[in-house]
Symmetry: C2
Subunit: 277 residues, 2 copies
């Protein structure tokens, strides 16, 4: 996949997260299909950076964690990805990726990859209850102009944002439970799972009932399955949970969980984001 050219039948997500191979220096290109306020959708950027590691000749095992720091808006166009294997042992690898434009770092990622050996398995909690994806009403995205939102099929079970009226006088709950799938259905792999872990609306929009200036500053996602587990799940949607616990001095956090329809916890995520209110 890494070496072939994009073609017309390729999924829009694969086009957006395509990387052209190099030695340690790879290149990518922003996608107008996944555009947010003032730059590309952070989930697509994170998936592209992860893609550059997955495609690296020295890569062994599957992603266990990825942290992305968004340093500056990424301009429309090409960017370089400088991939570095920081340290490796028999079963884990530590990587860093710098995304640069004109020599300046716009995003910076660190990742842990692991060959995950069989062990005792335990999932303390059950998947939260929810109406099925098919039975849940599609989120009407007509009011939102950002292209990335249109690449996802959001179906809120709880905590759908209300953004078309007056701002709330009392803060609403930051909690949401929703199904997320690609609008053009695509089997979920590590890359799309990474992207979906950032596919929540800013919690500040939910709480205040209005859009305000907002941007993720740092995002960390942990994978609780490996690529083989995920292929076995063979799914096109995840049940996603998002919440927040602090909005203070211009920054707010967000926590999230991504569950398979069958009840497996696939990934957990947290991020810290800037807001202006």
């Amino acid at each position: 996949m890494l070496t072939r050219s994009p073609d017309a039948t390729e999924h829009v997500f694969d086009k957006a997260t395509h990387v052209a191979p190099g030695d340690s220096q790879w290149s990518g290109h922003t996608s107008d299909d996944y555009w947010a306020f003032i730059g590309p959708f952070g989930g697509a950027t994170a998936a592209t950076m992860l893609h550059a590691i997955i495609g690296h000749a020295q890569r062994d095992g599957d992603p266990l964690s990825l942290t992305v720091n968004y340093c500056a808006p990424i301009a429309r166009g090409p960017f370089d990805l400088d991939v570095r294997l920081i340290r490796a042992n028999r079963s884990t690898q530590h990587w860093s990726v710098e995304l640069t434009q004109g020599g300046e770092v716009s995003a910076f990622a660190t990742a842990v990859f692991a060959i995950r050996r069989p062990s005792w398995s335990h999932q303390p909690r059950q998947r939260p209850d929810a109406t099925s994806f098919e039975q849940t009403r599609q989120y009407p995205k007509s009011a939102l102009k950002m292209s990335w939102v249109h690449q996802y099929d959001f179906r809120f079970v709880e905590g759908q944002p209300v953004l078309d009226g007056a701002p709330r006088t009392e803060p609403a709950s930051p909690f949401s439970k929703l199904w997320i799938g690609d609008t053009v259905p695509r089997q979920i792999d590590m890359l799309s799972l990474m992207s979906m872990s950032d596919a929540f609306f800013g919690r500040v929009f939910h709480v205040r009932g209005e859009m305000v200036p907002f941007g993720t500053v740092s995002l960390t996602t942990y994978f609780h399955v490996d690529a083989e587990d995920l292929r076995t799940e063979d799914i096109r949607q995840v049940l996603a949970i998002a919440d927040a616990s602090s909005f203070h001095k211009s920054y707010a956090n967000q926590t999230g969980e991504l569950w398979s329809p069958g009840g497996r916890l696939l990934a957990t995520t947290q991020q810290i984001a800037y807001f202006k209110v």
Copy 2:
């Protein structure tokens, strides 16, 4: 503080997280007072790396997030800290720190610092209920030989680990609620808050009722207060919550919250850790 030599009246935590200044290359030394299984306590390592950024001449603002990847056991003795300002704008700075011994990277950190401007403030949840620090029984640490454990005054309100009997036949809850303070009381600052965010026992010990091989691989902590807020709180203990949601193929996660006695959410944290069962 950074430039003075350690003295006899200095708190053991300040000695352990001391860094000797350099240009971008700093040096530190492991502390026998904060020793874990096969290397220094990860919280002290994280605080030491944070210390090197805080002391850097170009540093502006306060820590907002710190991610530490633990790549390999750190050997007893000195280490170098290579601090790099990756990108900065008017109100945020992105940093990286490499901890090396003999030229090899043993730990790697990325941090975001911010000048946190006043904004709308909102904390959706209240501090969890708990008996006060004074009214809660001290955790008896006599069974645990690791020195770092003895530097903390743990007082479990809920979910105290049971490690002195037979392993459990059914998994216990991974949830704990406890007070954490320095054994020799010390006003909590950004450094000790960082260290305390890693001062939980492995969730796998709680769930299985036994000690097993365990090590944090990646840790991320978000600060929901700045240094001024923390000075105003003027506290010596935090109410801490820890939980986990997945143990699978040799890795498990942990989520945590650190609250001030007065009810303020100071920091949230998550980590992914290796275990062998």
